[in-house]
């Protein structure tokens, strides 16, 4: 799985591409931890843009859960956006869309960066 990072002012966007499964989960976890730490200063908001994410399993959900908790502890707002239908299904069935802010698009996520906390 490839991961791109973008910075928009105080917001860091993480854009995973491909499959977030057992094989890629640990590496993605590290990348999210680095994104949360920032370059010395934590971002105000962390948005995972899932526009290119094709697949997520429970191993991937675990990473989202850990990142959401770490963000909450650090006072960083956390959201995901642009979920493809298959990924959205997994978020809905698992109840994760109740505990993590899910936005339809990047634009909407950027408009309401406050998150669910």
């Amino acid at each position: 799985m490839k991961v791109r990072l973008e910075t928009l002012g105080p917001t860091t966007l993480v854009i995973p591409q491909g499959r977030l499964d057992f094989a890629s989960a640990d590496r993605f976890q590290e990348q999210l931890e680095q994104a949360l730490a920032g370059a010395g200063t934590a971002p105000a908001a962390l948005i995972i843009d899932c526009v290119d994410l094709d697949y997520v399993s429970s191993a991937g959900l675990r990473v989202f859960l850990r990142a959401a908790r770490a963000a909450e502890r650090a006072g960083v707002s956390f959201a995901v956006c642009a979920l493809k239908p298959a990924v959205r299904d997994v978020f809905d069935l698992s109840g994760f869309s109740r505990i993590i802010a899910v936005h339809a698009s990047r634009a909407m996520a950027l408009q309401s960066p406050a998150g669910p906390a």
Binding site: F22, Y55, S94
Partner: protein, 138 residues
């Protein structure tokens, strides 16, 4: 009836091989791509459960996977010769828990049960057998 099977040792590094096995079956049978991810997820969750629960110090179980298409339904069967373990006996996660209280144990099997039309476990001789079936539109 269109059927294929493969087998691998229950090691995490084998997961991409099983995913590819399923994808090749999908291409060969021209099933709708939207359904493929559901079965890829089921296979990952069930296989990783065997990897986590099945190995002992002196042996690595063998996992046999088969897919069979018939009467518009696809059946995915995962068998292993590890110690008896019924993943369906795992407690379902509380999907209404808050962010702080949320636990992830049992989540994979829970997703599989929700996504498949039917899931059953049998201990057959010295083998665990988990069978999952879902209608697939063609």
């Amino acid at each position: 009836m269109n059927e294929r099977r493969t087998s691998v040792p229950s090691e995490a590094m084998q997961l991409p091989i099983l995913t590819r096995f399923l994808q090749e079956f999908w291409s060969a049978t021209e099933l709708p791509q939207a359904e493929a991810l559901t079965f890829e997820l089921a296979l990952e969750e069930v296989f990783m459960n065997v990897v986590m629960h099945g190995a002992s110090a002196d042996s690595v179980p063998r996992v046999e996977v088969s897919v069979a298409l018939g009467d518009g339904a696809l059946t995915l069967t995962v068998e292993d010769d590890g110690p008896a373990f019924d993943p369906l006996s795992l407690a379902a996660p509380d999907v209404t828990a808050s962010l702080d209280e949320r636990r992830v144990g049992g989540l994979g099997v829970f997703l599989v049960r929700r996504m498949m039309d039917s899931v059953s476990y049998h201990r057959v001789g010295t083998r665990n057998q988990l069978r999952m079936t879902k209608q697939v539109a063609r």
